[in-house]
Amino acid sequence: MAPGLRSYVLKRIGFAALMLLGVSVILFGIMRLAPGGPEAVLIGGEFSPDAAAQIRQRLGLDRPVALQYLAWAGAALRGDLGQSFKTGDSVSSLIVDRLGPTIQLTAGALVFALVVAVPLGVLAAVRRGTVWDSIGSAVSLFGVSFPSFWLGIMLILLFSEVLHVLPPSGLSEYGQEGNLGARLRHTILPTLTLGLIQMASFMRFTRSSLLEALRQDYVRTARAKGLGQARVVWRHALRNALIPVVTVVGLSLPTLVGGAVLTETVFAWPGIGRLAVGAVFERDYPVIMGVNLLVASVVIVANLVTDVAYCFIDPRISYR
């Protein structure tokens, strides 16, 4: 590893830690500033101000905000993300529980998107000006214009209400958790919803960056040297076109871990996205902080990894 690279990575890690700190402070501050709190949710309909005050005290919400933050941060550094205000379960166990369904969904969508988008994008770029190109760009343009929740609902309408071939929601039928076939059938619509939109955006990127790369000098040189079309494309252009693709995959990582909130809501999918949304409405601060910390960390790490990966893909990139 080049010495410049090592110090670069170290610097980035330092910045990353600083950013996590900043993110957590901002979020914490926002939540404490908001009116109302979790006690209202816990008590429910028979609200009484006395009970509310007691609960706030028990949850430590009557201490100064700075102290609360320090307590939370200190515990988080030791790996203890606290307990959910609502259920009392440890936040880490809640997250771990929900991580499975979310990753199942988003990884499936990502794979689907890549598998369809990259070849199609390449095809569209290479067969520029033909019908493939037009179809490709039309599909990708349409895809990024869909609101994900509406796409999901339309798919439910078509496949579940009209055609009755697929189940409308949920992880699996009750009592059938072990049944792989049933679980697979439940995964199809949400994965498709998420995947179609991602596929569209990947395709656009692949296509335009490949076109860009094909135009570069070194490609023309390679062609002039008499190398065959396929070799030119696959060895030189594609490698460089992959950089933006890696970028865009990296950019979709928050979704991968954070859960596709809207898709999960439409399909009642028990993932991290819905956990976070529920926690926000229920003022379950430890869960909100925990989920956001997790996602922010993943994103920061992913960014670092992709940046480092660049220098292996394109030797021209160097680091100060």
Binding site: G36, E39, E282
Partner: protein, 541 residues
Amino acid sequence: MRTILLAVFVVVLASSGAGESLAAGKDMVIGMSGDATSLNPVIATDSMSYIAEWPLFDSLLELDASLNVRPLLAESWEVSRDGLTYTFKLKKGVRWHDGKPFTARDVAFTFYSVLNPKVTTPHRAYFDALAGFPELTAKENPKRPEELAVKPIEVVDDSTIRFRLRYPSGSFLAVLVNPRAGIIPEHLLKGVDLNTAEFNRKPVGTGPFKFVEWRRGERIVMEANDQYHAGRPALNRLIFRIIPDAVVLLQELRAGGVDFIENPPLTEVARLKQTPGLKVLVADNTSYSYFGWRQDIAPFDDLRVRRALNHAIDVPTIVKEVLQGYAVVANGQFPPGSWAYDPSVKPYAYDANRARALLAESGWKPGPDGVLAKDGKRFSFSVRHDQANQTVKDTAVIVQEYLKRIGVEARLEALDWPTFVKKLFASEFEAIVVNWTNHHDPDPFAYTIWHSSQWKGRNFAHYKNPKVDELLEQARHAAVVSERKKHYAEFSRILMEDAPYTFLYFPQQVYVTRQAYEGFVPVPTFAGVYQSLKAVRWTGR
């Protein structure tokens, strides 16, 4: 050879016998729209917890279909002549789910816990009539039960318990009913901090069903209690599935994922009735919706304005068209199932012209933009409501429309529950649309909502009428039902005259379940149907 045959024969016989008894019962999957917070009747106050607690815990008494009390854990009781002493004889031979015997000490422990100021529970207020209540529940230096001269709760012997009141109260018996008065075991919880006990997630009760597991956010599973004092329930297991999305809940019912749901979207009920294999159960309920406002700010402090607002809203049409008839037009605080309900009190008839006339009388003239105005101020106010409650939101939208037609501008402000509740109890609002769950006895809610001493509590609208105060106190301290009924009738009349709110309607309980399940008794109180789960059986049709 013959021994082997005999052995096989015996085995086959034995296993078929076992098979038959397993098939005789059946599981039932119940859909819940949210998760419970804790399974401890002393602590829990949200509706999901109430539902889940009902099969697990018994109370001293239970309700019948006319909302009268009848024995459950208490076999019989005597009331002293002055109405201040209640002596209950408890059923013998009752056991907790862990096998230990149930005694009067558990009852004493339960209610002393409710009175203990260290325990966070709003149920405390229901036991206001108990002797020593103010001293036991004082914020500063609360007394302990041992320090009282007159003990409110006394264990006479293992199966006899005595309660002493400080004033005769006709609602005392009604308060000893599930879901707010389930009995908890002393031997498991003595000395434990009830607020955070592990017990709250792994409950042990004396109810018809035993706790099996609780996967948070997913399901609560219970199985039949073979040792239940009233006989083993016919069902094998109860599985409460938590599905927060109403649309998904319905889909699951249709697809067979759940067997029982409550409060389906009302527009679907007609279709559900016609679906083969499903049936719809309807019962009156104690929860009610109203459109209310602060009494002590303009323009609501003017009686004519309040009456006008009442005349402006066509409640019967709302009930018929939006609620599909599954509601009863409200004429005040008390639901039709309650003995305090007085059918002679009539709500204000829908009459937009009368509304306009009344407003004109009090000086409101149409302004340049069509909205009424007086002294340069437009008749415009904000209506706050809970954004998560679809029925309330829909009601608010409709109310706004009716008001628009008479020139009143209502600005809707949907707030999330924590914010809404905070503003409500701080009286930071002009108008509200709310749906509350009443108690089946008239006293608890009537008093806390309308008595002028409760301005810091549920009387956040700041209503004050000395005559009403007097009537409520008299009703509270009367022991005889007929006497209370008289006071409440007068109270209802005055309330309607004062028109502090527009009482809208009492939505009914609507449940959808499979034809094959029989035995439901929809008791007309909140979640009353769950009381009959112990009697439900699967007929296999």
